[in-house]
């Protein structure tokens, strides 16, 4: 295709490098330096998408991140496809494939377009109003609404790209590489500040870099030449780091900022291989200079959304920077002088300008006079009342404005045009400023919100047009002055610049331009992406919405992927006008990060897959793997769950393991239990205060089970603590609670009881724990440690011995979580696998059976031992657990003691721990199942729920623990556990099912 819309412009576009790309399957080409948008326009394609609600055809409207319409899907690879990419931002590369979104079957003929005809029936809040009733129909509505909602398609497969994070510290961060940003960066770096300059484009210079106009000169040359020279110079400054293609996403407190650097999105798929795609910069800057510029406003008039209607500044950039004519017969519509700059650029490139329509009465500024010299027809005090052309603008209708601007008068004039540039003034980009906590003030001369210097967080300034300076003279003068003051600089190379510009003399602003038709019959779009019109905003106000935040959500104005960058000011203006409020008092909606969307990849960086969360493995982990263990996650730990043999199911394996542990001997890796080493002269007193039971009289070499409460009296953690010496204890905690228990104990020690001489050290990883249990456990231990006297007299239950295995020091505790005669060997972790294997070897003739967490849970349930976190849930007191025996009633105080007799904790209808037996011993209850008394009651009263449930191979029946209202009084009573297809009959019992007399501990 000949590119007749392309002019020669070798500065920014490399016309020697042709790049082919596809749009909706059609093969096209552009040049290196193009964006997808400029390449499409060069191919005379304006229609790129459909609007969200009415499916109206929409075209490229801007040349930057504020683009509401030209949103495309890039690629169709299920793992790499990228939705909601702005065609105005993505740089063209060889092989790029883009697709229109939100249209079916295609962008030229879209079935959803029927919504456009139905639009009188789809006012603001349509969905809220219509689908409210009947409530039961919501699920059916939802299916259709969800189906038609949403823009773009998410990738369906994992993202193979690499993303990176980088921390960066600097003295001064300059955000934005336009003329003021470049001046600031130079001043900063030249004055010994480590400086970082960021810009989201691939080339520095903002809009000035292509401003080649006689009206705007610095030191006698056009502003673009002057700036080009400056950019060349700053690249050699040592203290200055420049990052292009890097967009600032968020500005948090204490000058912490996030920026996304695009590293490969502009490269062809081949060139991308093996490279990092995006990098998230986490920046701490001592000082921040915001120079984010401004974006042009559209004008709000009837049918202002057709393909071919663009911002006047975008038309200028396309011709001056990309060398692309946006049309052959261009019309400009404006309320200020900016459109005249576009007119001159177009004229220079030989584009025919149909006319300029200006709502002002007259202007005699330098640039307007310059345009008048070219004999371009200017319709002063006129407005557009309608446009025509479905897939591309073809005609406009204009009329004269009444003096007050509220109506149109005179005869309608119809003009033929294929492109309309609109200019409604400028909006400073204050997003970052407000994100950081800055407050805005309103300037009524030109209706802009600006950073309020008195309400600016410290260590930052805004300069340039984001600070409300739109004239190049003001920009240079004020940027220089403000940066010098901010950084304490005395003299600057910009002090004596001679700047020439065209001063704008006349302003006129009409938020909603009148039409010859009543408003109900017009379509003046405010938010182009969400299809909200000025009508919708008016309706919302009539319906009583007053707060700007409410109007925004009700009409969805400003809620698209562009976040209202184009539309918000007009919505505010219209609301202020109708409600008779001052815009400054009305305020703006909140600007929240990110400024432009971030990919999830950039947010997570390298923290994916196994790097997302730590995996903790015990010293014996590889042994478990080799012995085919199945693992379960307990916090970050991988714990052996069960060891299936010969194709056993989990149930079968657990039954076998549980039987073996009671009949001969079982072995468990208990290393994950938390271990805290406690030392100090007040260690006993400390334990007295943190556990419910008494500790002062525990003899050295003895162990004791302890229950720990929260200050509210609820059970928090439990475990066995051993007295190793006069002032030395080792505490065990639950696996999941280890870190929190340590934090809690440290908190009390440091803040409530600093007078106690106690030191806490976590030793969870330092020691591994091997638990050997069962009637033959003594025989195993005597083989592994022949020197140790294992007689009940010398080594009774709940006691501890220091010992040595193969020259390795170890601590052996005789404690039991299963009710069997059992031992725990604690050993330095790097020897633990060796000792584990010694035990396995010693147990060969006794069928020593490794068992996992599931069997451990089953065995302890047979004994009615609780697991905190399974049988408790933060609402159970010791008494609720039928563990009143563990409360040291004579103790003066312990954590949670006072709460044990609050009016709520002494209620006797609290949920309390009970045992449950099913009438059919083969029936196993589901954990979490509800327990009821009356089946036909409506609503049925739920008395409690099952917390632990197993089939006990040692009792040959199903057993369960449950919590039930007034459970202590219910022993022997019958209840139901209703399931989906049956009701299970159960009887409340004691919590101890097996060996009630504890004979086996000493067997």
């Amino acid at each position: 295709m000949p590119q007749e819309l392309r002019i020669n412009n070798n500065k920014f576009i490399d016309q020697t490098t042709r790049l082919s790309f596809k749009f909706n399957g059609e093969k096209l080409y552009g040049y290196k330096g193009d964006t997808l948008a400029s390449a499409l326009l060069a191919n005379n394609i304006h229609l790129v998408g459909r609007s969200f609600k009415y499916h109206r055809p929409r075209g490229i409207m801007t040349c930057g991140s504020e683009e509401p319409n030209a949103i495309v899907q890039i690629g169709n690879d299920p793992s790499l496809t990228d939705p909601n990419v702005r065609a105005t931002e993505i740089e063209l590369y060889e092989g790029l494939e883009a697709f229109s979104q939100n249209c079916w079957p295609n962008v030229k003929f879209d079935i959803g377009g029927i919504n456009n005809l139905l639009s009188p029936l789809l006012p603001a809040g349509f969905y809220y109003k219509t689908f409210m009733w009947p409530a039961s129909f919501w699920e059916k509505y939802e299916f259709f609404i969800r189906h038609s909602a949403g823009l773009g398609k998410s990738p369906t497969k994992p993202d193979p790209d690499i993303y990176d994070h980088k921390y960066y510290h600097c003295d001064v961060l300059v955000v934005g590489g336009g003329i003021s940003g470049i001046m600031a960066a130079k001043l900063s770096a030249e004055n010994n500040n480590e400086t970082l300059l960021l810009d989201d484009k691939n080339i520095l210079g903002g809009a000035t870099i292509y401003q080649n106009n006689d009206c705007f000169q610095i030191d006698g040359t056009h502003t673009n030449y002057w700036l080009e020279k400056e950019i060349k110079n700053i690249k050699n400054i040592k203290n200055l780091t420049i990052k292009t293609r890097t967009s600032l996403a968020a500005y948090h407190g204490y000058n912490y900022l996030l920026a996304k650097e695009n590293l490969t999105d502009h490269l062809s798929p081949d060139e991308r291989k093996g490279k990092i795609r995006q990098r998230l910069w986490k920046i701490r800057a001592k000082k921040v200079i915001i120079a984010t510029g401004s974006i042009e406003r559209p004008l709000i008039f009837n049918n202002n959304d057709r393909p071919g209607i663009m911002l006047s500044s975008a038309i200028k950039k396309f011709i001056d920077f990309y060398g692309v004519k946006a049309g052959k017969e261009i019309t400009l519509f404006t309320n200020n002088d900016s459109a005249y700059e576009t007119a001159i650029s177009l004229k220079k490139s030989g584009v025919n300008i149909v006319s300029i329509i200006d709502i002002r009465d007259k202007s005699s500024s330098k640039i307007v006079k310059e345009v008048e010299k070219h004999n371009i027809k200017i319709y002063w005090k006129h407005t557009i009342v309608n446009t025509e052309g479905y897939r591309r603008i073809s005609f406009i209708e204009i009329m004269q404005l009444s003096d007050d601007g509220s109506d149109v008068i005179g005869k309608k004039i119809k003009l033929k045009t294929d492109c309309l540039g609109i200019s409604g003034g400028w909006t400073p980009m204050v997003h970052l400023f407000t994100q950081s906590g800055g407050k805005l003030k309103f300037r009524s001369d030109d209706n802009v919100f600006l950073p309020d210097k008195n309400k600016t967080p410290s260590d930052q300034i805004s300069i340039g047009s984001c600070n409300g300076d739109f004239d190049i003279k003001d920009i240079i003068l004020n940027s220089n002055k403000d940066v010098k003051t901010f950084l304490g600089i005395e003299n600057s190379s910009f002090d004596n610049l001679k700047v020439e510009s065209s001063k704008e003399e006349m302003k006129r602003n009409i938020w909603l331009l009148p039409s010859d038709k009543p408003i109900g019959k017009t379509k003046p779009f405010l938010d182009f992406q969400n299809d909200s019109t000025a009508k919708d905003v008016k309706l919302a106000l009539r319906e009583g919405f007053k707060s700007i935040e409410h109007v925004k959500r009700y009409t969805t104005t400003g809620m698209g992927t562009d976040q209202g960058k184009l539309s918000n000011m007009h919505a505010l203006g219209i609301i202020a006008e109708i409600t008779g409020t001052n815009m400054g008092e009305l305020g703006t909606t909140t600007f929240r990060p990110p400024y432009t969307p971030l990919t999830f990849g950039a947010i997570v960086g390298r923290n994916v897959g196994e790097f997302f969360d730590h995996t903790r493995k015990t010293a014996m982990h590889n042994w478990h793997v080799q012995n085919k263990a199945k693992f379960e996650n307990v916090g970050q730990w991988k714990r052996a769950w069960y060891y299936p043999k010969n194709g056993e199911t989990m149930f079968e394996a657990v039954q076998r393991e549980s039987k073996a542990a009671r009949e001969s001997v079982g072995i468990l890796d208990a290393s994950t239990l938390g271990k805290i080493d406690i030392q100090g002269t007040d260690a006993s007193e400390f334990l007295n205060r943190v556990y419910t039971n008494a500790w002062s009289k525990l003899a050295i070499g003895k162990c004791r089970y302890g229950l720990m409460l929260n200050e509210d009296g609820m059970v928090y953690d439990d475990g066995v603590t051993t007295r190793l010496g006069e002032n030395h204890y080792i505490m065990t905690t639950t696996t999941g609670g280890a870190a929190n228990v340590l934090t809690k104990l440290e908190d009390y020690l440091q803040t409530e009881w600093p007078e106690l001489d106690v030191y806490l050290t976590t030793v969870t990883d330092h020691f591994s724990t091997i638990s050997i249990c069962g009637p033959n456990s003594k025989k195993i231990l005597s083989k592994v440690i022949p020197d140790l006297d294992l007689s009940d007299e010398k080594f009774p239950h709940m006691s501890f011995k220091n010992s040595i295995i193969n020259g390795i020091k170890c601590r052996v505790m005789r404690i039991s979580f299963t009710g069997e005669h059992s031992y725990e060997i604690n050993i330095q972790s790097n020897y633990a696998k060796h000792v584990w294997e010694l035990c396995m070897d010693a147990g060969k003739n006794y069928n020593i059976t490794p068992y996992g967490t599931e069997t451990m849970h089953l065995l302890r349930a047979e004994k009615g031992f609780i697991i905190t976190g399974q049988d408790t849930d933060g609402t159970m007191t010791p008494s609720d657990l039928q563990m009143d025996w563990i409360i040291g009633k004579k103790k003066f105080d312990f954590i949670g003691k006072r709460s044990l007799y609050r009016s709520d904790t002494i209620r006797d209808d609290r949920k309390q721990l009970v045992g449950l037996l099913t009438d059919d011993p083969k029936e196993i209850l589901e954990e979490g199942a509800q327990i009821v008394e009356k089946l036909n009651q409506k609503p049925v009263e739920m008395l409690g729920h099952v917390t632990s449930s197993y089939f006990s191979p040692n009792l040959n029946k199903s057993i369960a623990l449950a919590v039930m209202k007034s459970g202590k009084k219910l022993k022997g009573k019958k209840f139901f556990v209703p399931m989906e297809n049956k009701n299970i009959n159960v009887t409340v019992t004691d919590t101890v099912f097996f060996d009630k007399e504890n004979k086996r501990l000493n067997a």
Partner: protein
Amino acid sequence: MFIINCPYCGERDQTEFSSGGEAHIVRPKQPTELSDDEWAEFLFMRKNIKGIQFERWNHSHGCRKWFNVVRDTSNDKIHAVYKMGEKPPVNK
């Protein structure tokens, strides 16, 4: 995201710390002598101030020490940092 000047380690990023809520709530010396209401006051009642707030912070990913911070919750400005047991350097 603020920077906290840990009295033991110096300036560190907020992510290294965890907040422990309102400061200067002393655990009663003789809880048994308190009524249910008095105990509940200690146990549950906390202020949530917009403005200057005295809070406990723990350098949980550092020295593990607890200390107090005077922070303006409306703009996160930290006015003072002081060790446990010390008097607040600004008026409470």
